[in-house]
């Protein structure tokens, strides 16, 4: 017989069971609280059309929307620039829309400038503030008001400038690195007032003077696609690439041959090659015989002054190499010479001269004139350099591009500190906010209307036009509407009666204009675009829509308008009208070769006085993944930095292995770079084949007052050159940190 359960035992076991149940209930509650309420966006999948605004290429986008929320960006297959492809920057721009540190509404500065303390204010009050300041500055006389920089081209960008000028402002624009920057020198040689266009895809041999072909060149996604086909196209020989570049850029890495030459010496090398072509009579006679112009004079200047010996002495490139570069170029069936958009004038002159000598004008795989670039309204804004010693009272900033463009040298910080009132019209906390007194947040690209003229690259006239893909997530405004309401408050004459301008109105107006042109059609797949071209070539045009409304809808659905009709032979036509080429006569080669800096290690240049240091030339460059106008606060972009050599989330500096060895620096070490004005630290990367007296530093925007990711980046190469003497080379001391 079992033992009877005692009272004590009964109580103990029931107590234990009760404790267990209580714990179990607590556990259930805990489990329920850890199960997230809504894990994912739900709802049906929709694709919305938009335009990428990370660079002036203005590629068409498709946003994958789940339940009204964008979850992924892809290139639009209808867009002739990207044809469904999209670069890293374009994809990453999705993170700008969701940026947790985005401005949630208009804000006014409290406390010191740049301290990053803000208080929210309502829109009408914000507009009153800026209006009062502008009134005061206008009454104080010009140059009271300055509006800076929109990093895009197209009717809304022009409307921005017009609206500001209507209330007495001077407008400046950041030089954007598109083919339009090459236009003045191209016109000087050929007389064509149009944008040059390089037919990379069909070229057999490309000689590139610093052109970042696979990075940020002209229209990056187009350039990448063209490069891929240039290398390995169907039924063609592999294209050969020779890169002249100060550092081992991504393009240099892809090249079949890379020659390290400083930017200021590249024009010498180009003329040296021209001299080889002329001396050995390897030039293409066709165009030159007919439209030689001042070729004879040019020949007389160049042949004796730019002998391979002299060029070799000045640039450090061996004579045999210079001879071979010239011969390879002339022997290839379809060679072309290309150049970076921000190159100096003499280099651009030299590059177009070479193209004339090798007969690349109006030839497949050569240089053409971009369609419709001839009669387009030119940019009436002043270049950033013209800011000079201006002391404006009020400054309006549209985007951070003036701060990021390394070739734009004026000291913006000083200009803005001197201004009485700075207003930023950017969606993000970026460099513009560091100086601003008032933040008027604008829509991010996915929330905006678009009507952009894409950077000239494809052989067609294009507009990238789209309506907002999503509703504004936060209390932001359309940039143009903001300027319009400011102008209305000031009482600008033409603004008073008219319907208020907005990007939507400008975009719809542009679509109406395109409808009346009776040519072209909506962005379409390759086959349909080619068919349209065939029709137009035969003098036919089939309207894409029955009514203007229908046409508008189709354009907005497709994300743009294209007229694929393209006529080659523009250069020859211009030469015929103008009686020949006008070669720029190069300045005489410097008699004494520029001294290479002797590397003399000195002790005690590192942190705390330890370590060896040496004086080197500074070359700064912007990594391809860093946007020149967009939000700095995109974590995925920082993870891409320095790949595959350096570490993510930080800038890096490239050194010649021998130089590094003399300074006791190894790959991966942290080094200190000290210029006259600043010191930064970076990670060392050793690069075989670099110039031994050069340190190349990646410029990654570090923005202290910005979002959570942008503010942790340390070591901004821009600070090294901000006040540097623009004439001479910038010298820095490099040592191990």
């Amino acid at each position: 017989m079992p033992e009877p359960v005692t009272r004590r035992e009964f109580l103990s076991y029931s107590g234990a069971a009760l404790t267990g149940v209580t714990l179990g209930q607590l556990g259930r509650q805990w489990l329920a609280s850890t199960t997230p309420a809504v894990v994912h966006a739900s709802g049906s999948e929709v694709w919305a059309t938009s335009v990428c605004r990370e660079c002036p290429a203005s590629c068409g986008l498709r946003a994958r929307m789940i339940g009204g929320v964008p979850v992924k960006l892809e290139g639009s297959p209808l867009c002739p620039i990207g044809r469904g492809r999209l670069c890293a920057k374009g994809q990453a721009s999705l993170e700008s829309y969701f940026d947790p540190d985005r401005l949630i509404g208009p804000a006014r500065r409290v406390g010191e400038r740049g301290a990053g303390r803000w208080e929210p204010i309502p829109w009408p009050k914000a507009l009153d503030l800026v209006t009062a300041q502008i009134r005061e500055s206008v009454s104080a006389g010009r140059p009271g008001l300055v509006a800076l920089a929109v990093d895009e081209d197209g009717p809304p960008a022009d409307a921005w400038s017009d609206a500001w000028r209507a209330i007495g402002a001077r407008t400046f624009r950041t030089p954007i690195d598109t083919a339009t920057r090459l236009r003045p020198r191209f016109e000087a040689l050929t007389g064509v007032n149009g944008d040059p266009m390089f037919d990379l895809e069909r070229a057999s041999h490309v000689l590139s003077f610093g052109a970042p072909i696979v990075e940020t060149w002209l229209s990056p996604v187009w350039a990448q696609r063209a490069f891929g086909r240039f290398r390995r196209g169907p039924s063609r020989q592999r294209g050969r690439l020779v890169q002249i570049d100060a550092r081992r850029s991504a393009t240099a890495r892809k090249a079949d041959e890379w020659l390290s030459v400083l930017p200021e010496h590249q024009a010498l090398l180009a003329y040296g090659i021209a001299s080889v072509l002329l001396r050995e009579d390897r030039v293409q006679r066709g165009l030159l015989d007919e439209f030689g112009g001042n070729l004879r004079e040019f020949q007389r200047d160049v042949i004796p002054h730019y002998t391979p010996d002299q060029v070799a002495a000045a640039t450090g490139i061996p004579v045999v190499t210079i001879l071979r570069l010239g011969r390879d170029l002339a022997d290839s069936p379809r060679p072309v010479v290309v150049v970076a958009a921000d190159a100096n004038n003499s280099l651009i002159d030299a590059v177009f001269t070479l193209n004339a000598l090798i007969g690349a004008f109006d030839r497949p795989g050569g240089v053409f004139v971009a369609p419709a670039s001839i009669d387009r309204r030119g940019v009436e804004d002043e270049p950033l350099e013209a800011l000079g010693d201006l002391k404006p009272r009020v400054v309006a900033l549209a985007d951070p591009s003036p701060f990021r463009t390394l070739s734009a040298s004026p000291d913006l910080g000083r200009l803005l500190e001197g201004a009485r009132f700075v207003v930023s019209l950017s969606p993000y906390l970026d460099e513009t906010a560091a100086f601003a007194d008032l933040l008027l947040p604008t829509h991010t690209p996915l929330e905006s209307w678009h009507c952009a003229v894409p950077a000239p690259a494809v052989a067609a006239e294009t507009r990238s036009i789209a309506m907002p893909a999503v509703k504004p997530r936060l209390d932001t405004a359309d940039r143009l509407s903001l300027v319009a309401s400011i102008a209305r408050r000031i009482g600008a004459p033409e603004q008073a009666t008219d319907e208020p301008i907005s990007t939507e109105r400008i975009a719809r107006g542009e679509i109406d204009r395109l409808w009346r042109l009776r040519r072209g059609g909506p962005y379409s797949v390759v086959y349909e675009t080619e068919w349209l071209e065939q029709l137009e070539r035969g003098g036919w045009w089939a309207p894409a829509a029955e009514s203007r409304e229908d046409f508008t809808n189709r354009i907005l659905q497709a994300g743009g308008w294209i007229d694929p009709y393209f006529q080659a032979g523009q250069i020859e036509q211009s030469l015929r009208e103008r009686r020949g080429l006008r070669f720029a006569l190069p300045v005489a080669i410097p008699a004494v070769p520029p001294a290479k800096i002797e590397i003399k290690p000195v002790d005690g240049a590192g942190r705390d006085g330890f370590g060896k240091g040496a004086t080197l030339r500074l070359v700064t460059f912007t990594p391809a993944v860093v946007s020149l106008a967009g939000n700095p606060n995109q974590p995925v972009i920082y993870e891409l930095l320095g790949q595959p050599d350096a570490a993510p989330w930080q800038p890096w500096a490239e050194l010649h292995p021998e130089t590094a060895a003399r300074l006791g620096i190894e790959s991966g070490h942290r080094i200190r770079i000290t210029s006259r004005v600043a010191t930064i630290e970076a990670m060392a990367v050793l690069v075989e084949g670099m110039l031994s007296d050069v340190v190349a530093v990646a410029s990654v925007p570090s923005v202290p007052g910005a979002g959570r990711w942008a503010r942790v980046i340390e070591g901004d190469a821009r600070s090294l050159v901000a006040l540097a003497d623009p004439a001479g080379p910038c010298l820095v001391v490099v040592a191990r940190a």
Binding site: S12, Y13, A16, A17, V21, G24, R28
Partner: protein
């Protein structure tokens, strides 16, 4: 010592039984929707995503407009008790407006773990599976669901996949 262990074991076992075996707690739904009253329409008439996408979805109130010319009683009671809609200026909104703008906070009760990728379209449109096989017979329910009517586990999925010859590859569902 043995006694202490025994007591702990009793506590642990009762806790485990409480967590695992008890059915999930009932939740409150915003509108007491009567499924049995709506048997004249098919399931997908309201749960439209079932045939077209991975998620069947809980219908918007706007879907009611297809049949209801005036707000059904329970809907009106719930919606008019809620906070005033923005922009309505305190005026009583019309049924049409109300239905389009209302966002009742429905609670999903039939849910799979996050790592199970179930597609309604695949099972409803391609495999022609009856809704009742996973959701039970809703035609008899006189309420909106307050807890999952059928316990879904991997054995249920797999037994059907085996008999129907559907894929048994793990990553088809788990990724």
């Amino acid at each position: 010592m043995a006694r202490a262990l025994l007591l702990t074991a009793v506590a642990a076992i009762s806790a485990a039984i409480w967590v695992v075996l008890l059915p999930p707690a009932a939740v409150d739904q915003p509108i007491p929707f009567d499924h049995a009253k709506h048997t004249e329409v098919t399931c997908v008439a309201c749960h439209r995503g079932a045939e077209r996408s991975a998620r069947a979805g809980i219908p918007e109130v706007a879907a009611c407009l297809n049949c209801h010319a005036t707000p059904p009683r329970p809907v009106e009671v719930v919606l008019s008790a809620g906070p005033a809609l923005p922009g309505s200026d305190g005026q009583k909104p019309t049924w049409d407006e109300l239905a389009r703008r209302a966002r009742p906070a429905w609670v999903r009760v039939t849910r799979l773990p996050d790592h199970v990728m179930f597609s309604h379209r695949r099972h409803v449109t391609s495999a022609k599976l009856d809704c009742a096989s996973c959701h039970g017979d809703m035609r008899a329910r006189r309420d909106a669901l307050t807890s999952a009517p059928v316990r879904l586990d991997m054995n249920a999925c797999l037994s059907c996949h085996k008999t129907e010859g559907a894929t048994e590859d793990c990553v088809a569902c788990h990724r």
